[in-house]
């Protein structure tokens, strides 16, 4: 155990790579989720088709297959990325597709009367989204987004298979150099768990803020709807 703890500098470096991938991949995923999710609620059918193609393609594929594709196949076509960038792209595009379904489902779940009221009040489409629909949609999006950021953080472990030295890779290296199998692999799981709990603290904080903003009381009971929305293979109804 002592050998494993002595390598704390390696653990910290690995944790930093994992956190960086989570945050950058998360930012890309969030952007894509909003763009393609809103596209899915459009009145124009060709915009909705755009949403379907993106979601089915990137949700239907395994993250690891996407990463290998960006890493091994695309360079042959002349597109070269650094490993880090390929990983962010694979994670962001994949989780963004789940996120887009969450956004689409949440916007569609805002009561129709809210939309009708904005029309009656002569809001512009931008005001309608910005002031009425989106704030209520976001309250619905946050819990599944919380699940997705944890999934994304867990997904970052794939980079250890293409040579980036993240937490998983560090545990393998330390296990190799010290022979402390139990300590090294227990340590890495604990570190991932700590990172996940910290991420969840931020998610809970955001949920409380949005609930307060809308004057709602947060509900703690799990319901099939929210679980389905955050599920790795799931789509949101509607």
């Amino acid at each position: 155990m002592a050998d494993v703890l002595d390598s704390y500098q390696q653990w910290l470096d690995g944790a930093w790579v994992t956190i960086k991938l989570t945050l950058l991949g998360g930012a890309l995923a969030l952007g894509l989720a909003l763009i393609f999710g809103l596209a899915g609620t459009s009145r124009h059918s060709w915009v909705r088709v755009l949403n379907r193609v993106y979601v089915e393609f990137f949700r239907g594929n395994a993250t690891l297959v996407l990463l290998f594709w960006f890493f091994y196949a695309l360079p042959l076509l002349g597109l070269r990325f650094t490993t880090m960038f390929a990983a962010i792209l694979a994670l962001g595009l994949n989780v963004g597709a789940y996120g887009a379904e969450v956004v689409r489902g949440s916007i569609n779940a805002v009561p129709k009367a809210q939309y009708e009221a904005t029309v009656a009040l002569n809001f512009t489409p931008y005001q309608r989204m910005r002031r009425v629909i989106l704030p209520q949609g976001i309250a619905l999006m946050l819990p599944p987004f919380g699940n997705l950021i944890i999934e994304l953080m867990k997904g970052t472990a794939i980079v250890s298979l293409v040579g980036l030295v993240d937490l998983t890779r560090v545990s393998k290296n330390i296990q190799g150099s010290t022979g402390q199998t139990v300590a090294a692999f227990s340590m890495v799981l604990v570190l991932y768990f700590v990172i996940a709990q910290i991420l969840l603290l931020f998610v809970r904080y955001a949920e409380r803020r949005v609930d307060r903003m809308l004057g709602r009381r947060p509900s703690r009971e799990p319901s099939l709807g929210t679980i389905a929305a955050g599920a790795p293979g799931a789509g949101v109804g509607g």
Partner: protein, 219 residues
Amino acid sequence: MNVEWDWSYSWDILPDLLDGLRYTVIATLAGYVIALVLGLVWTLLRRSPSRILNQTVRWITEFIRCTPLIPQLYFVFFVLPAWGLTIGSLTAGIITLGVHYSTYTAEVYRAGISDVPKGQWEAATALNLPRSRVWLDVVLPQAIRRVIPTLGNYLIAMFKDSPYLMAINVAELLFSANKVGAKTLQFLEPITMVGLLFIVVSVISSILVRRLERRYATN
């Protein structure tokens, strides 16, 4: 290295990929059985009146759910032998995948059970049914019916996570594709073929799940 798609090469490597697909399917299905059964066990244990028991189960499942599959695979594959229990890589992969996803199915069952209307419980009490019959004949049949589509989604999710098993050298689909790619230095064809296969299977199965959703819709 070529940029053109090489059709005869794609045809040649097909048997290798199908060989890998066999392991992918075995690992996914066997893992799914573990996930379905163990998930229900977690859910029932969490309802135990003993606070120590249900809190322990809660944190164990939370821990497994919040940590990635690849280090979990390393843990099962390398640590169990250190404790004197040697298992093959495919077995280790199946166990890890199954246990990992059992923490998800546990949440699904839990939500399914809490969705069963309270009147059903009250009716069972009014009829003085024994506890075993309340669960087996009243609650679980209704709860499981509600969660079948969601459980179907997790089968798809497990299929898509099965490539992680290559981390401990299970010769599944992506592992095989990577191997033929490394042998010939032509990665474009095998990786693209695997990607297409994943999309085709996922899209078809999500259509099937949507059918299930309609069939088991409760309201």
